[in-house]
Structure formats: C-alpha cells, structure tokens
C-alpha cells in the first residue's frame, strides 16, 4: 500500500502539521509527499522520517487545481491523503468524487490497514469504519498524531505540470502574529466573549505570552470581533490537543468542547461553578477573570515561567 500525501503549507513554508500527518500516513505504507510550493519547502520536507520521496510541484493555491494535480498522480497509489486542515477539507472531497471514492476524513486513530476512527456529532460520538474500497482518500487530524522524527534525507522529484484553476486567487488576509501555531501548540490559553472587548481579550493574550502559549477563542468572542477567526477553537474552528489548555471565561458549549477533547489537562477560570467547562476541568478557579488574569500573569512572570 503506497501513500500519496499532500503536504501542509503555510505561506509557502512547511507547516508543523506535515510531520504529524506523515507519521499517521506512514502507518499505512511508504509515503510520497507532494509539496506544491516553493522549492525550499520541498527541501525541508526531505528530512521527515517516513517519507520515501518528495514530489515538488509548482504552487497551487486553489482546490480545483490541487484536486487535478492529485488526480493526475493518483494512479500509482492505493491511498491519497492529507491533513484535515482547511486545505485538506477543501481539496480531498473534490478529489474523492472525481475518483468515485467515498473518503474517510478527520481520522483520529488508525486501527488497521483500512479501519479508522473518526468523530461525529461534534466529537460526542466516535465512529469506527472499515473502508473496503480499492483506493482510499483520507484526511488525518494532525493534532491526534505525534510528529515524525526529522532524520531523513529523502530524494526530491520535480513535476512540471501546469496547474490550471477556474477559480482565481485574489488576496490573503492573514492574521500576523508571532505566537505559536494553535493547532499544534503545547500550551493554549483560550478566551470567551465575557472578556467584553478586544481590550479585555488582551488580558488573555498577555497570559498566553507569559507562557509562550498559542491563543484560542470561542465563536462568540470571534463573532464579537475580540479575536480573529483563525483563533476559533471547536467544531467549526481548530481542533487542538495541547498538554495544557487554560479556558478563561468560557462556558463550554458542546461545539467548543469539540475542539479541546484532545487536551491533556484543562484549567478553567470562570465566575460560574456550574459552567460545563468547569465540570470537565482538571483544575478550576472560580472568580472574575478581570481580577484573576492580571494577578495570575504577574505571579507567573515573577516566578520566572517563561518559555
């Protein structure tokens, strides 16, 4: 069983998710990694353990072009896979329909050559499926897999197919920041709508900065304009699996909990001892975030925790 895996890129560089999806895919067979982007990203990808060969292609930004590119390569593979990122979600179902394959997506566990576990109902149920099709189209949730080592030196093969797309890229509106990648961060501090303003959200960001954490937000906080959309955690946002998640003024709606089920430890700060998030937290502090956060950040600064 050979695997063609679409690498995850962010702004032309290999993103942290790629080493994780390689680790997942490598459980199923030797992995050829398709890197549609700058040559430097392809070179970087050669180091990932489990990669048999890097296939470097010209930048392809949009779904129809990427699906065409993958379809052209599909012949030689039994599995075509990607990360369950917004790119993977955009491209892989399109590819699957083109190849007349029912895809299995958002895989969080591999239980055999064609047996997979995926969450449904916002993670409130886990479905175990077997896929008896001859060819498989899969996406993996990067956060559910540990990254592959980087001690490889795989060869690079260059494709010079021209990728045409009916859609046209106009502009990227990126959230510029130097904080760690949310989907793969070790520590995440999340804020809810109860911060009351974008200013209030800064208290959450300050705590995050002290801890070297990524910042998450609820849908309500994003809708209110306190945080950018790519910080949203949950059923419609990012799925995170940090070692530590600190949830500040977050009620714990099931759509939010959908995104944090993989967190190893959860700490809740909330005025309401009955909030669903407090009910599942490993540690809770009941109180007002406006009083707690400045003091907490200051004490942590003082104790020298800085990563």
């Amino acid at each position: 069983m050979s695997v063609l895996l679409l690498a995850e890129l962010d702004d032309g560089t290999l993103s942290a998710a790629t080493a994780r999806t390689v680790a997942a895919a490598a459980q199923l067979g030797p992995v050829d990694l398709l890197v549609p982007g700058p040559r430097a990203a392809a070179d970087q990808a050669t180091a990932i353990a489990g990669v048999a060969k890097v296939i470097h292609a010209k930048q392809a930004l949009l779904a129809d072009g990427l699906a065409n590119l993958l379809a052209g390569l599909a012949e030689g593979y039994t599995i075509i896979a990607a990360s369950a990122s917004t790119t993977g979600k955009d491209v892989m179902p399109r590819l699957a329909a083109r190849l007349d394959i029912q895809p299995v997506t958002d895989i969080v566990a591999i239980e055999g050559a064609n047996r997979f576990v995926r969450p449904i109902y916002a993670g409130n149920a886990l479905e175990t499926v077997t896929d008896p099709q001859q060819k498989h189209v899969l996406t993996f949730r990067a956060s559910a897999f540990r990254p592959a080592a980087s001690d490889n030196a795989a060869p690079v093969e260059t494709l010079d197919t021209d990728i045409a797309s009916a859609a046209r890229f106009i502009a990227a509106h990126r959230t510029q920041s130097d904080i760690p990648d949310l989907a793969t961060a070790q520590i995440v501090v999340g804020g809810g709508v109860s911060v009351g303003s974008a200013e209030g959200f800064k208290l959450v960001e300050a705590l995050g900065k002290t801890l070297g954490a990524a910042i998450g937000a609820t849908r309500a906080a994003v809708d209110a304009g306190y945080a950018p959309n790519d910080w949203q955690v949950g059923q419609t946002g990012k799925i995170i699996a940090p070692d530590l998640y600190i949830a500040v003024g977050i009620s714990g709606a099931l759509q939010h909990l959908a995104g944090i089920q993989g967190a190893r430890k959860i700490i809740a700060i909330n005025t309401d001892p009955e909030a669903p998030l407090v009910k599942i937290a490993d540690v809770a502090l009941i109180g007002d975030l406006f009083e707690i956060l400045p003091q907490l950040t200051a004490e942590l600064e003082k104790s020298g925790v800085r990563r």
């Binding site: 917004t86 399109r94 520590i187 530590l244 959860i266 009910k279």
Partner: protein, 252 residues
Amino acid sequence: MKILVAVKRVVDHNVRIRVRPDGSGVETSGVRMSMNPFCKHAVEAAVQLAEAGAADEIVIVSIGPKPANDVILTALAMGAHRGILVETDQPLETLAIAKLLARVVAEEQPDLVLLGKQAVDDDSNHVGQMLAALTDRPQATFASEIKLDGTALEVTREVDSGRETIGLPLPAIVTADLRLNTPRNAALPMVMKARSKPLAIRPATEFGVDLTPRLAVEKVSPPPERAAGATVNSVTELAAIIAADVNEMEAI
C-alpha cells in the same frame, strides 16, 4: 440568476446526543430535529441575493425521509420560491448525496449552488466539494462573505491562516460558514405562505444513482469521559500549579 440551495435535516444542534448502548449508532428517535445551522446561512445568503435583485429564483433541495419536508418549509418561509424533496429512508453517504444533487443540478441548471460547509451530525464537510467535482464547477468553501459582480463571484473564505478572497466565474458552488450572515426567523405570515409554495416530492430511486454505501460502520462509541477535578481557592495556588506543569513540560 437561479440559485439552488441544499439543506439537510439533522438532530438539532442544541441537543446533547446519546450513543446507543449497543454501539449501533446515535439515538435519533424522539430527538428534536431541525435544519442544519450551516444550511440556514446558505438559505439566508440566497434570500439576500434575491432581495438585492441579483437572483430571481431560489430552489431548495433536501434529501432524506418525508419529515425533511419541514426543513424545506423553513427555507420557503425564509423566502425561497419552491422546494424539492428527494425522498429516501435510507441513510446515505456523502458521495451518494452529492451524486443525487448533481442530478438535480443537471435538471435545474442553477447559476449558483449554495450549501452549508458541513452537516453537524456526520461533520463530514464533503458534499459541496464533491458536487463541484461532479458538475465540474469551481468551488468556494467556508464562505464568510459573498459578492456578486455580474457573472462573477468574489468570495471571502475562512481558512486556517485567517481569511482569503477568491474570484470565480458562474456557474459555481459555494459553501457557507457561520459568519456569512445572520439567518432570519421567518415571521408567521411567511410560515403560512410557505405552505402554498410548490414542493415536489421525488423518490431517490428515480434518479438512477447507485446509493449502496461504500464504507461499513462497525460501531459508534461515546468519547472518553472527563470528570471534574479540583477547585483551587486562590490565584497563587493556580499560579503554582501552572508553573509546575510548564516546568515539567520543559523537561520533556
């Protein structure tokens, strides 16, 4: 312009679902059902385009059992013009759904097809993209803004790195994210009026699509439970716990 909107009837998003003890699935009998939230945003987008004079007909299609009529009626009450129920009692995989929708697209020839980005029961996030492949149309998924300029669309999409704007020629497929708009609640007179709008009921078998599932669902199980832990009483205590955790992490 003609717009086709695909809407799915699902377990209401506020219901805390229960996995059947025998692992055969999620309990859906006697559970409140409603229109998939993302589909509501798709319907609202279509109605707003019609109100702006950009669309003259909105056709709603839903695939499912007879009670799926209810979600079509909801969409008609929001302002759509007519409905099609593709009736089946069989649970269908997303590829089969997309193939049925492709047949409807072939019949109706809409300039724009709007769908939700995902159904909150299976959380697949497939059908729009599959339909785009099957009808060979360009796609814009996870839309948070749609602008129509003659025969071209400009769609802003919510992506992992923020947002991006793409342009696509019509006919096209767009899937709606939640920040696209605020769906209206239909007023009572609209609800009454919806009942007199045309609603065709067509058996799924009529479309000549092979509906046999490709995958075998072995079992459905509940996720591991998380129990409440300790409550601390002071910020100092909490700071000590966090500091200890973080220091331990650094040691890894």
